[in-house]
């Protein structure tokens, strides 16, 4: 085995194959192929792959619209390279659901296979993919390709989709789909004058109507709105969030309660979890999130992305906290004029009220075991993906790009109903990602159990659930050599 484990990716120079990869980034690849080429950027000389036909394969997330957009848009890439570089590409696609994609990718990459040349990864997996050297570090490639040197909309984008380990300058991914949580509302119900009057009569406050109204709204105020529209007798409920045990669902929806009120989930620098995750703020946050179940349909404790879409599109809920990425599925043809998308409310009261929601979205990552030809195509693909026209086309088809030029276009907000909310949430400080640690999956699995145990009522004390999760995660991080402090004695009895 010739791999080392420097997170900085220094190992790239220890492997003959990797040396080739480095070259594949740009002109040196051409030299390796014994093709005279001055610069592919200017396209003056023939492309080293000119006249060839290359088979490429992309692994993406099953049933995830932005992933399938990558698939659906690939014929455009075929045209692009055919015209520009004179080679042909045949794409094959493999998919796996969110919860299984990493499994699919990891089991393939661990065999050093180039079964999947380009992978759409979830942001938190970057560490787990980068650490064993499965994916290509992109710093050199970005340095050599101008079209990859984009001005990203905010540092959040860079932190979430590109960097590992946190705080370094090592880039492993490029944003494929940006994603934040947004609040989807039934505009037709909200803007009914009768409802506004009834609401004002009952709560002595105005029913928020516009995007700007919601910008300043707090959870406490929104609770009234949810309560107002919560009519179980008519089979309509106030809102929907995600509480599901599957993958990261409940985690992503609980974190906003924690982050916004100053809670933390770990100390990224020391990898200390115990004492940080199991804090009073976080316990309070759990209680708050659970209390929201009363405005949600029965069965909401099992809601994930798909279930939310089902209840929202079937008109069972007035509002829905949902990823901006599935906007297209949330707003069906018949609902087209009945839905508005706003920023999710702030937590806390008065001047302290803040909103820090969870980041979603996925980066592109490139298989480090690609041979030269595939690597070349992968890099051409990235260059093409970030062409302004491609990015705009992506947005028009329902995707969420992350680059400043596109997001600051005057017409960006009007491309899709959720764009304004998405852009708002992408502003610095309003959304953040969590652990990119290689032990991500393991820590997540423990935490999902603990959180759902409390949400479903199996564990009655939120602190007990938090302590259990914190102790387990602490042990995982100690075992992995990241954390230095062993779980305390309190952990011996910690259980669900």
């Amino acid at each position: 085995m010739t791999q080392s484990n420097h997170p900085e990716g220094r190992n790239r120079f220890s492997l003959p194959r990797r040396k080739l990869l480095k070259g594949a980034g740009a002109m040196t690849a051409a030299a390796a192929l014994n093709m005279p080429i001055a610069s592919r950027v200017f396209g003056k000389e023939p492309h080293p792959l000119a006249g060839k036909k290359i088979d490429m394969s992309i692994l993406g997330i099953a049933g995830w619209l932005p992933s399938s957009l990558g698939v659906k848009m690939s014929p455009l890439f075929n045209e692009y390279v055919k015209e520009k570089y004179g080679y042909e590409v045949e794409f094959a696609f493999a998919e796996a659901p969110f919860s299984d994609l990493f499994q699919k990718a990891a089991t393939s990459l661990a065999t050093r296979s180039q079964e999947y040349n380009i992978i759409i990864s979830d942001s938190q997996w970057i560490g787990a993919l980068a650490e064993p050297g499965w994916i290509l570090q992109l710093n050199d490639i970005i340095a050599q390709n101008q079209s990859l040197q984009l001005d990203w909309y905010s540092q959040t984008v860079v932190d979430t989709y590109m960097i590992y380990p946190d705080g370094t300058k090592n880039i492993w991914g490029l944003p494929q789909e940006g994603d934040t949580i947004a609040l989807f509302l039934r505009k037709d119900m909200l803007q009914d004058p009768a409802e506004a009057a009834a609401f004002e009569k009952k709560y002595g406050a105005k029913l928020p109507q516009t995007f700007e109204d919601f910008e300043d709204l707090t959870m406490a105020e929104f609770e009234k709105v949810a309560d107002h529209f919560n009519r179980p007798d008519d089979q309509i409920w106030g809102t929907a969030m995600q509480y599901s045990r599957v993958y990261d669902f409940v985690t992503c929806y609980l974190y906003p309660f924690m982050f916004s009120q100053g809670g933390e989930v770990w100390d990224a620098a020391t990898a200390q979890v115990e004492g940080i995750l199991n804090s009073d703020i976080n316990a309070k946050a759990m209680e708050q999130m659970k209390s929201w179940l009363k405005y949600q349909p029965p069965g909401a404790v099992n809601y994930g992305i798909a279930e939310q879409i089902d209840v929202f599109t079937q008109g069972k809920v007035f509002s829905c906290f949902q990823w901006a990425a599935v906007g297209l599925a949330m707003i069906t043809e018949e609902m087209k004029d009945k839905v508005m998308v706003v920023a999710p409310p702030k937590h806390g009261t008065g001047a302290d009220a803040r909103r820090v929601y969870t980041m979603g979205g996925q980066p592109w990552v490139i298989n480090a075991y690609n041979d030269q030809e595939k690597m070349r195509v992968a890099i051409d693909f990235m260059n093409w993906w970030y062409q302004p026209e491609t990015t705009l086309e992506f947005a028009r088809r329902g995707g969420n790009p992350c680059d400043k030029p596109t997001l600051t276009r005057s017409d960006f907000d009007s491309i899709n109903p959720w764009n304004q909310a998405y852009k708002f949430m992408l502003e610095p400080g309003r959304s953040r990602d969590f652990w990119h640690h290689p032990k991500y999956a393991e820590m997540l699995a423990v935490q999902q159990e603990a959180f759902t145990s409390y949400m479903t009522g199996q564990t009655s004390d939120p602190m007990q659930a938090l302590t259990y999760a914190a102790c387990q995660q602490q042990q995982i991080l100690v075992d992995a050599g990241s954390a230095t402090i062993d779980p305390t004695r309190a952990c011996i009895t910690a259980n669900l």
Partner: protein
């Protein structure tokens, strides 16, 4: 018996001498394929598993396996996760599911046995057997839909019967576990019915007729005639169901993923999580080795019971 056929084999002066006239070569020829399969796909992986169980090896760390002795095993019982809870949940699952399936399956088997002239019996039986050939991946997903409090047909029926509040079968800790047991029973009761029918089919008609002539009461008939002949097959059905329900996984993943909390976290679910969500290959191997030992112990008991019956039988009946 073996001696007879052996002498038979050597007595014959076969005109076409073949390699296989040598008994050892013949035995080898017959066993070679199964042994090859066994060694490549069973022995090697099992040894691999055993070896890994003494190593710290995570697929995602990029580190080569590191020998750590029994630490994985120690971790299983100490603080890493709660194996006792998982095991007891699993045993309750196996116990309740298998006994319900056996009881119901035998009952249905007897009922169908007595309905040889029923119109459309073959179709009715085919319909009854259908649940066990459904793809579990889809079955779990669809049952989640059937159980759904908002859209599900089961709650619609309950509503029709006058229930005020829908029941969240898979989200409510009081119901989730038994909701999963119910689906397992739905899927596998037909299997026990099938085994019962096969067992009843093996009862000699003459003995049944004799029992009828003797006017034996029905329980005597069951005990003396039917159970005597059929118990081997029924026990075998129970054995197979026990082994299989001990490793129930593919129904649970789409339905609850081990939730709510850890309510339906059976050992196979936990193992799947450790192996293919966390990629703790060393730890999961140790876990798997433990499960294998438990399974072997359970199966040995069953086989012992089965063989006991056979031995008694051959002792009583003698060889022909």
């Amino acid at each position: 018996m073996a001696a007879v056929s052996q002498s038979g084999g050597s007595k014959v002066a076969s005109p076409r001498k073949s390699l296989f006239d040598d008994r050892r070569i013949l035995v080898l020829f017959l066993l070679a394929p199964v042994l090859c399969f066994f060694i490549v796909f069973n022995t090697i992986p099992t040894l691999w598993l055993l070896g890994l169980s003494f190593h710290n090896f995570s697929l995602t760390s990029g580190m080569p396996p590191e020998f750590i002795g029994f630490r994985n095993f120690v971790q299983i019982f100490y603080n890493k996760n709660n194996i006792w809870a998982d095991l007891s949940r699993t045993f309750i699952f196996v116990g309740s599911a298998v006994s319900i399936q056996t009881a119901l399956g035998i009952l249905l088997g007897f009922l169908f046995w007595g309905s040889k002239n029923m119109p459309g019996r073959r179709i009715a039986l085919t319909m009854l057997f259908t649940p066990m050939v459904l793809t579990p991946v889809a079955t779990g997903t669809f049952w989640r839909f059937i159980y759904d409090p908002t859209f599900g047909v089961l709650n619609a029926i309950l509503r029709g019967l006058g229930a005020d509040h829908p029941i969240d079968f898979l989200g409510d800790p009081t119901f989730a576990y038994w909701a999963v047991v119910a689906v397992d029973c739905w899927m596998w009761t037909p299997f026990m019915t099938l085994m019962t029918l096969a067992a009843l089919g093996s009862v000699p008609k003459a003995e049944l007729e004799a029992a009828e002539v003797d006017r034996l009461p029905w329980w005597q008939r069951v005990r003396l005639v039917i159970w005597h002949h059929g118990k081997f097959i029924i026990m075998l059905g129970v054995l197979l169901r026990t082994i299989d329900s001990f490793k129930t996984l593919d129904l649970i993943i789409p339905m609850t993923k081990g939730g709510p909390g850890q309510q339906t976290r059976l050992v196979a679910v936990e193992l799947n999580k450790q192996a293919f969500e966390s990629f703790n290959m060393g730890f999961s191997s140790a876990y798997a080795v433990l499960l294998l030992l438990i399974s072997i112990a359970m199966t040995s008991v069953f086989i012992y019971v089965l063989n006991l019956r056979r031995r008694k039988d051959s002792a009583a009946g003698g060889e022909t």
